[in-house]
Structures are given as structure tokens and as C-alpha cells.
């Protein structure tokens, strides 16, 4: 026994050593200092954008050895990105400095105290010459929490050869598609209606254009009413009237894009990246591509697009927040914005002066439509519980052909109120 005890002791000691080494290594992971003593600024989000190295490289040169920005990869879909962020932020991870934040996360992250408020000089620098709607997406309870980086509004894309006149209202869209169907030409109307965030964007656009909302101003009460019933009616009839794709309930942006590319769809609602992406995917279709504002759902009232985009926030647990702020400002300065807009990523700039750049004007013939939509654009509900509301909307409305406007609206109303009150569970 004693012999075996003696035999075991070194083993135990060895394990203890291994354990303490492991914890030392783990501790070292968080500290974020490169071997040369140059502080590392860890960027999460946006680092996998096309041609991002052309933005990152010059910014690292500009830092002149004071810091080094390292772009880290995260999952490609927004839900998984958020999951990684919240998990690591809740664990007070020091390894994240700059967070590429979807516009819908501001309230949640700010309320939880995970990101730093920008004040004084920083606030001024972050908002100088920036369009107002993107600033609003980075603001929660009148405090600025993010550096606006890119914005986004969907547009109506159509084939000029099939639809000679740009549709102005949703009825025009339906009429054009019906006519094309009768003539045996490509007629599909493409929208994103898979069970995911993009479906919520589409629904929010229709609802806002009709003058409705999901929740009130400070997100304390559900406001689903007859406008929502009307909006649900529009989705339901699109799904059941034979003018949408068969895979409507499975359509995300790439699918809607493909419907256009394959000459299946005549009209689609999609983000501005379509033009630059189509030039690479199908030159003939790209040449025939027309673009205009999202149609009026209530005739006579301009539509109200839903704002997308991304802001850079500085993590509360960052050990060198000032350097991180400086780095983030470089990653979205006018030169970087222009590069991002011209690359295949097609990030729509937030800085006004970029819209005047000749190269931008040439690549974005629809810039006036974008700016016009931006003026009336609506954010998605601003609340720390946005994720819950979004999940409820996309699941309740899926699949689109099973919507029963009155009943679905009631269901939506009940579930969203439950989510606001902190009751109910997520599917």
C-alpha cells in the first residue's frame, strides 16, 4: 500500500503541475500582448469581409507600432455571432476589444454593461459627418455606445426587360408579376421569408410602411394592431397566390439572389450588394438590372425600410480601450469606408463625404435611392430583449403560407407581450 502510495504521489504532483500550467496558459490567453510587447487589439466581426486585409493592413501601418489589430474569425450568421459574443462577454473575456456589432444588439449589450459608452471627444469623433440613422442605431437611452461602421437598407431590384416601368407601389409589383405569369415569362417575386432574422426585417418593413409598429417607443408594451393584420395579409397572399418561389419558406438572401441570377425572379427585395455581386455572377442579368425604392405598401405614403448595418463597440473588458477606439476609428475612416463599399462585401458607408467620391458614385448608381430610403428608415425595436422578440416573430410567421392574418396577429401580440414581461419561453 505504502509503496503504491509513493508511486502515486509523483503522479498526483505531476497532475497538479499540469493543472497549474494549464491555468497559467489560460490566464495568459486573455492578456492580449504580442510577443514584442506591442498591445494587440482583437477585432471580432467584419474581419472576414471580402478584401478586409486592404483595410486592416494600412490601419496597422498607421498605428506605427503602438498597437496591432488582429482580425479574428467568428461564425458567419448573425445568430451564432451574437451567441459567441454574449457567452464571452458574460464571462468577462478580456480577449475581445473591438466588437463588430449588428445594429440590433446595441440595447442588449449596453443594458448588460458589456460595452463602453462613448463620451466627449470620442463621441464627437465617432459621429462627425455621419448620417443620423446609423448614429441612432448605436444609441441606447440617449447615450452613444458604438462607432457607426456601415448601414444598409433593402431596395427593390427588377429586370428592366421584363418590368419596363419601375414599380411604385406593391400593387404595381403584383400586377407586373401577374402579367408576366400570364405571358409565360419569368414572374417570381423574391423576398426573404425563411425562419430567420431577414424575415423579421421584411415583415418590419411592410408593417412600418403601413404605419404600424411591433412595440411602443420604449419597448414596454406590444402594439400589434390591425396594421399588423394587414401586413400579415400581404405576406399570406404573396405566399398563396402563386407569385412567390416554391422555396419561399426557405429563402434567405443568397436564395433570393439566386432566383434573380437564374432568371426565375422578375422582382426581388434585397440589399444593395446585389449589384456588385451580380456583376460577378451573371453579367447579362446585371446589365438588365433595375433598382428603385421599396414599393409603397400604403399607396401615397413612401415606404419605410428597415435599417441594417454594423457598428463597432469597445468591450468593457478590453484592457486597452483607448487603443481599441483608435483602431476602430481607423477601420471605418473615409478611406476604409470607400474600400469596403467598392469591395465585393458592398458595405454601405455611413460617412456623408464618401457618397460624393467619384469612385463611389460610379459603383453605386442607386445611391440616391439609398439616401432617400435612409431618411425615412426605421430601426428594429430597440430593446435589450430584441433577440427574444425577433425569434418570436420569425417562428410565429413561419412558414408564410400558414399565416392566418387575424389569428397570427393575436398570437404575435400575446407572445411579444410575454417576452417583454420576461415570461414565456423561447422556442
Amino acid at each position: 500500500m505504502k509503496a503504491s502510495a509513493r508511486r502515486r504521489c509523483p503522479k498526483l504532483a505531476a497532475w497538479l503541475v499540469v493543472g497549474s500550467l494549464a491555468s497559467a496558459t489560460l490566464a495568459a490567453c486573455g492578456s492580449g500582448t504580442a510577443s514584442g510587447g506591442v498591445p494587440v487589439v482583437n477585432l471580432y466581426g467584419s474581419a472576414s469581409d471580402a478584401d478586409f486585409d486592404k483595410i486592416l493592413g494600412p490601419c496597422n501601418d498607421a498605428a506605427e507600432g503602438r498597437y496591432k489589430i488582429v482580425g479574428n474569425l467568428i461564425p458567419s450568421d448573425a445568430d451564432s455571432q451574437r451567441e459567441q459574443f454574449v457567452r464571452r462577454l458574460a464571462a468577462e473575456d478580456e480577449g475581445m476589444d473591438i466588437l463588430g456589432m449588428d445594429v440590433t444588439w446595441t440595447a442588449e449589450f449596453a443594458e448588460a454593461g458589456w460595452i463602453r459608452e462613448l463620451t466627449g471627444e470620442k463621441k464627437e469623433a465617432a459621429t462627425a459627418d455621419v448620417l443620423q440613422p446609423p448614429i441612432d442605431t448605436a444609441t441606447w437611452e440617449d447615450k452613444l455606445y458604438g462607432i457607426p461602421r456601415s448601414t444598409n437598407v433593402q431596395l427593390l431590384w427588377y429586370r428592366k426587360s421584363l418590368v419596363p416601368e419601375a414599380p411604385k407601389t406593391w400593387d404595381d409589383v403584383l400586377a407586373a408579376a401577374k402579367k408576366l405569369k400570364a405571358e409565360g415569362k419569368p414572374y417570381i417575386i423574391g423576398i426573404t421569408a425563411a425562419q430567420y432574422e431577414g424575415y423579421v426585417v421584411g415583415f418590419n418593413t411592410i408593417l412600418s410602411s403601413l404605419g404600424g409598429t411591433l412595440v411602443n417607443e420604449d419597448s414596454t408594451k406590444v402594439t400589434v394592431d390591425d396594421k399588423a393584420v394587414e401586413a400579415l395579409g400581404i405576406l399570406e397572399s404573396l405566399a398563396n397566390d402563386g407569385l412567390a418561389s416554391k422555396s419561399l419558406s426557405n429563402s434567405q438572401e443568397p436564395e433570393v439572389f439566386a432566383q434573380m441570377q437564374n432568371s426565375e425572379a422578375a422582382i426581388t427585395i434585397n440589399w444593395p450588394y446585389v449589384l456588385s455581386a451580380m456583376r460577378e455572377a451573371n453579367k447579362d442579368v446585371a446589365a438588365d438590372l433595375g433598382v428603385t425604392r421599396i414599393p409603397e405598401f400604403a399607396p401615397g405614403t413612401p415606404s419605410r425600410a428597415t435599417l441594417g448595418g454594423m457598428n463597432y463597440a469597445i468591450s468593457k473588458y478590453s484592457t486597452h480601450p483607448d487603443l481599441a477606439f483608435e483602431a476602430a476609428m481607423c477601420l471605418r475612416n473615409p478611406e476604409s469606408q470607400l474600400k469596403g463599399a467598392l469591395s465585393a462585401a458592398g458595405n454601405v458607408p455611413v460617412i456623408r463625404s464618401v457618397y460624393e467620391e467619384p469612385a463611389f458614385v460610379k459603383a453605386y448608381p442607386m445611391k440616391d435611392d439609398i439616401l432617400a430610403e435612409m431618411e425615412t428608415a426605421v430601426p428594429r425595436p430597440k430593446t435589450p430583449l430584441y433577440q427574444n422578440i425577433s425569434t418570436i416573430v420569425s417562428t410565429t410567421l413561419s412558414p408564410p403560407d400558414s399565416i392566418d392574418p387575424e389569428q397570427t396577429a393575436d398570437e404575435l401580440k400575446e407572445k411579444i407581450q410575454q417576452a417583454i414581461d420576461g415570461q414565456g419561453i423561447l422556442p
Binding site: A90, S249, Q387
Partner: protein, 310 residues
């Protein structure tokens, strides 16, 4: 009085033995003490990594607790349990999980038995047969699940062709079950094969001399004899299957009503950051598994290992 003296004599005589005994038991006690000491670190670690989280989860399940509002925690008693147990989402997931558990475990038992017999009876290339049968079990579940997902994806998958089975509820469920069964049949077979090795060949030969067919020999001799092995295998698999997560997460991530209870718990706890509701679900899953294990032992207890009557 005299009896006492006699007794004392006896005691005196036995004193040597007694001392020896005491010494031995002292030695034993010292050994035990050493054993305890040696176990202590492991026990402490176990307490820290299992008992503490379990107790903490139970504690949290009585609170309204959300990571996004860390200062607004409040005690709600059984409120979370009422919320979860009165939610159709929970019961739908519970039904799905039960369905997957029952169907996949039954299929695994049948196919596993078949595979076990094949592995047991193979004469030529026994090592090769056994190794190749175990390959699916050696593949990481998530990797295998991704292979299945791509195989069943419209356009790119060799199994899907022009259909999109993972966008509908029932086809998705069957694919999930297929992935589960494919993955764990070898595990089942391994456990059952260990049981098969215990069946005496003589008994089977004697039965066949008496004219019993292969079918009769299997049901009348093999099955009763390996009942303990079957029970263990089925119990393990049931408990595992009830906690199914990775295959569903990769294949459908719960879309189209294919969520299991673990997926729903994950969505509320990790995605929704709702510690209260999430912990409640975790506790409910724990309780369900405890009940399943209890029922198994109660119902088939006679055949449980260590109590075998057969």
C-alpha cells in the same frame, strides 16, 4: 461468579489473538485513512465540477435571472416551473424527444443485436469485421451530422437530389433518427456482444440436439441469458437519446418543430441568456432522466446486473 472467572480465563487466552486483531484493524484503519486521503482530491474536484453546478442550477431555477439584467434578479418560487410546464413549446419538444428516444432506441436494439451476432459469429476476418463495424462510433457526432446535413441538402447532397427534406418536420425527424441510429448501433452491438460471450456454447449445442431451431435457440436461450446486458445497453442508450442535442443542432437547429428538450433549454439558457428558465429546463431534464432510470430498474429490476435471477 465462577462463570465470570472462566470467561476471564478465556479472555486472557484470547488476548493475543485480540491484540493481533486490533493491530490488524489498526492497520486496516490506517489504510482506510490513507485511501480516504488519496481519494479526497478527486472527491473535492467532483464536488466542485458536478455537485456544485447541479445545486446551483436548482437554486437558479427558483429565480427570475437574466444575464442581460444582472441586477434585477428576484425570487419567484416555482414560477419558472409553472411557466415551462404550461408552455406548449416545452411539451412539443418533450413529445419530439420521447418519439426520437423510443424509435431510435428500438431500432438500435434490433440492429445492434444483429450486428452483435454477426460480430460474434464471424470466423473469417473477425478483427476486420469488428473494427469496421465500430467506425461510425469513432467519428465525432458533429462531424458525422454535418456529413448527413450536406448529403440531405437540396442541390448539393447525393441523397437529397431535388428534394429538400430538412425543411419539413417529419422528413427531418427521420433523418435525425437515421443519424442517431447509424452512429450508435456499434455501441449497442459492443455491449450486447459482451453479453453473447457469456452464453455457453454447450447449452446451444444441447438445444440443437433436442431439435430446437435457430430462432428458438435465440429466444429461449440467448435472450434470457443476456437479459442483463440488454438492460444495461438499453438503459444507457435511452438516457443518452433523451439528451439528444448535437445531431439536431447541426441538422435542423430545431427549425420546423424538431427541437428536443435539450435544444429548447440551450436556446433559453445560452441564446436567450435566461438563467432562470434555462436552469428550470435543465432540472426538469435531470428529473425526467432520473425517472426513466428508476422505472427501468423497477420494471426490469429482476434482471438488473448484480441481482440477476436468470
Amino acid at each position: 461468579m465462577s462463570t465470570t472467572v472462566a470467561k476471564q480465563d478465556v479472555t486472557k487466552q484470547d488476548e493475543g489473538v485480540d491484540i493481533a486483531k486490533r493491530r490488524a484493524s489498526e492497520g486496516k484503519r490506517a489504510e482506510q485513512k490513507l485511501g480516504m486521503l488519496l481519494c479526497a482530491p478527486a472527491v473535492v474536484v467532483m464536488l466542485a465540477v458536478t455537485a456544485y453546478p447541479i445545486l446551483y442550477a436548482i437554486y437558479l431555477s427558483f429565480f427570475k435571472a437574466d444575464l442581460r439584467t444582472p441586477d434585477a434578479n428576484e425570487f419567484v418560487g416555482l414560477g419558472n416551473y409553472i411557466t415551462v410546464l404550461s408552455s406548449p413549446i416545452w411539451w412539443s419538444a418533450f413529445g419530439i424527444t420521447m418519439f426520437i428516444t423510443v424509435v431510435s432506441t428500438s431500432l438500435e436494439l434490433a440492429l445492434g443485436m444483429l450486428l452483435a451476432i454477426v460480430m460474434h459469429r464471424t470466423i473469417v476476418g473477425r478483427g476486420l469485421v469488428r473494427t469496421s463495424a465500430l467506425v461510425p462510433y469513432a467519428i465525432v457526432t458533429v462531424v458525422a451530422a454535418f456529413s448527413w446535413r450536406f448529403a440531405w441538402t437540396q442541390g448539393i447532397g447525393w441523397l437529397a437530389g431535388d428534394s429538400a427534406p430538412l425543411t419539413e418536420k417529419w422528413p427531418s425527424l427521420w433523418i435525425i433518427i437515421l443519424a442517431e441510429v447509424w452512429k450508435t448501433v456499434p455501441f449497442m452491438a459492443l455491449l450486447l456482444m459482451a453479453g453473447l460471450a457469456l452464453v455457453p456454447e454447450d447449452l446451444l449445442k444441447a438445444a440443437s440436439m433436442d431439435g430446437a431451431t435457430a430462432w428458438q435457440r435465440f429466444w429461449k436461450i440467448t435472450v434470457p441469458l443476456i437479459k442483463p446486458a440488454i438492460l444495461v445497453a438499453v438503459l444507457f442508450r435511452t438516457l443518452d437519446a433523451f439528451r439528444i442535442f448535437d445531431n439536431i443542432y447541426v441538422l435542423t437547429s430545431g427549425a420546423n418543430d424538431t427541437s428536443s428538450v435539450s435544444i429548447v433549454a440551450y436556446n433559453n439558457l445560452i441564446r436567450g441568456l435566461n438563467l432562470g428558465i434555462g436552469s428550470t429546463m435543465a432540472v426538469l431534464i435531470f428529473i425526467t432522466i432520473a425517472i426513466i432510470a428508476f422505472l427501468f430498474i423497477k420494471l426490469f429490476g429482476a434482471a438488473a446486473p448484480g441481482q440477476g435471477r436468470s
